[in-house]
Amino acid sequence: MKDKLVVIGNGMAGIRTLEELLKLDEADRYEITVFGSEPCPNYNRILLSPVLAGEKTIDDIILNSREWYAEHDITLHTGDPVVEIDRVKRRVRTESGLEAAYDRLLIATGSSPFIIPVPGADLEGVIGFRDIADVDRMLEAARQYKRAVVIGGGLLGLEAANGLMKQGMEVKVVHLMDRLMERQLDDPAAAMLKRSLEERGMEFLMETQTAEILGEQRVSGIRFADGSQLATDLVVMAVGIRPNIELAQRAGLHCERGILVNDTLQTYDPRIYAVGECVQHRGVCYGLVAPLFEQAKVCANHLAQLGYGRYEGSVTSTKLKVTGIDLFSAGNFEGGEDSEEIVFQDPAGGIYKKIVLKDGKVTGAVLYGETMDGAWYFQLMRNGTDVSAMRSHIVFGESHLGDSGHGGQNRAAAMADEAQVCDCNGVCKGEITQAITSKGLFTVDDVKLHTKAGASCGSCVGLVEQILADTLGGDYSAPEHKPLCRCTDFTHDQVRAAIREQHLTSMGEVFRGLEWRTPDGCHVCRPALNYYLISSWPLEAEDDPQSRFINERVHGNIQKDGTYSVIPRIFGGTTTPDHLRAIAEASERFDVGEVRFTGGERINMLGVKKEDLPAIWEFLTARGFVSGHAYGKALRTAKSCVGSTWCRFGTQDSTQLAVELEQMTWGSCMPHKFKMAASGCPRNCAEATIKDFGAVGIDSGWEIHVGGNGGVKVRATDLLCRVESKQEVLDHCAAFIQLYREEAHYLERTAPWVERVGLAYIKERILQDEAGRQALIERFKVSQQVAQVDPWAERAQGGQAHEFAPLKIIA
């Protein structure tokens, strides 16, 4: 006998809760009934603006069709709102007299537009902008009448005004304040917005208060507080929304502005939950989609009786498309007395960007016209990252000169449908927008899954975010705590902390202790967990070959035809005639397909068959080589330029340093590949300043550089410090590597890691905390004792033989 779950309200928050519940609840716990006041199934309310503007139809914006409810055995009653909740008998009663008993009740009644209580507010032709019925009335008015007034110059009011203008009406916007969208924009951005809208024909009456709406049966005009009047045929009230709490209040549930709920989304009656715009949580009522979806997820966790979800409130950013103009706003965008503001303004280009800083951290941002970096600023804000090292260029955003892919585009709105957005997978803009609307996608992860855009190198993700915002009219910003994978709700940091604090040394312990949703994990978490276990407990945790990506299991780079590449280690890029002979012989003996030099100053033999790998390794190890680890999330190489041994400009012996750096660090496993270089003088011929760790020889010693990246997202290094001796370089390298190994997320290169935690933090740990630096060096040495073992030699001697030979050959 199933429990009964009754949902009051058929809107986005309530139905999202059901979707999350269905994902979690394999036990199929509930018999679900939904009562909605509107006549249609759940639709995307954010997309009402394009419907008004004639760009979409109502069918385009339905999120869950009636078939969806039927498929999931959900009984849906539309057009029949609940009017009474009897908490004693645990039943609800609807307008039509239907009754339904409940074991659990979910109130998702949303909010209603606030109608200013002036005389005439109840005349025909005075409407809100909330639901499909409102849109229908506006479209009808546009067919019969000419003039419209929108009261409210916030987001909703401007969207209504724009839509009505597109339908051919003359529209004036009346606003109480002296600037538009005062809750998201500062003066300069609001002024730019107003100018842009005026150019399209919108008229504004600012600092104007409505006193009375005039007319007999239907509205004919408005009188303002200053006595002036305006004739009009339609009035749209867009001055705010009020949570619908009357039903809850009558049932005796405690309400203030909204229905009060705790961190598990329960009301004062533990059988009754509430989500969405009707809710007040820790004093806040939310009106944006992202917090409501987070609430839905936690509420579902509790309805499914898993009991560990917790909603702690949301920090929101607003990424909007207002009448085709990209806007972004987050945090304290105004600034103020103890804040600093960094501003970029290009009025003719239609761009305004302001970043607000306090104590070296981002506390707010407002972007007008170019919003590509909104998510990045928001992340910096949420992480509380110290950005002092980036002051000089933070306003230019995350995109760097030299980034490849997506054709240098940074305004998705300007791209044509046929324009390619994702260059790795060949996905064009039209495909993405089509997937978003036809499959009801809301997040970047959704788009990655359904179209592959953003799923490979990731450089187009900024564009994908913009396309989401353009298509949905707003942005579903990524949840604050991104889970490690779909098998868990824990983040990388949480999993890592658990492994450390609870002394977990095997994957089975992690799966059990952290209640993994799958028995074996998945291709995302298994390699990550394997790394976290080994790096946290180098002397105790055992490597799990079956959790390693093929390259690291087989110790070669898999190529598209299933053959492998073999790259022996050439320390510091310095070789000998004997070694070159050995490589030449190996290439001939094993019928290598192609021999080429790598960027890391070594030689690549391509096209080696898997079953030949142990033999080619036997040959190479006998001639003195070890594995180059060119295939792994590991130390790759230390390049060098000629240096003081030979070069007339060399101030330091960079070749020797590179050799010693590589000898110290080879074999270590890392969150991602790690590349080093040592240059003999500031001419930097070894390109040390785009490496994860770089040393540049100077007259008085060495400059140490960290966090560079020469690949998809080019990032120049940050200068860490200057030292005098080679030994200090080696020490700082070991400390930096160990800190990176212990704290970065799996698959995070040093560049994004340094930007995420801030250079100031790294300097504190490695430069200022001398005892700490020593401890890091010691831990790296301990790790290397176990790790610096040649995997080729092991396998040449027969280790892991099953990997390289077929199980059986059938003639």
Partner: protein
Amino acid sequence: MNENWIEIGRVEDIPRLGSRVVQSPQGEIAIFRNAGDEVFALRNRCPHKGGPLSEGIVSGNRVTCPLHNWVLELESGSAVAPDVGCTPAYPVKLEQGHVYLQLQIAEAVA
């Protein structure tokens, strides 16, 4: 012992949550072993771009192709949504610790 079952090895020769390859006149066949010691057999070619499924990470009853991360069901060889595609599955069974394979493609799973 039924017709056409070919003995290909012992189950412990296949790593748990892993795979070994059988070379046959029809090409390579990947034999998988899940955590519960059940065995599966698929043509060792991903329906996407021909990647060697035997090299992928196995979890549950699925394998992820190492080339571009398509996930395939071991039982049927079908790609997991939203990817669409299928690689042939072969009949395979475990009897007293020995693995037996048939070289004819299994009936398509309904």
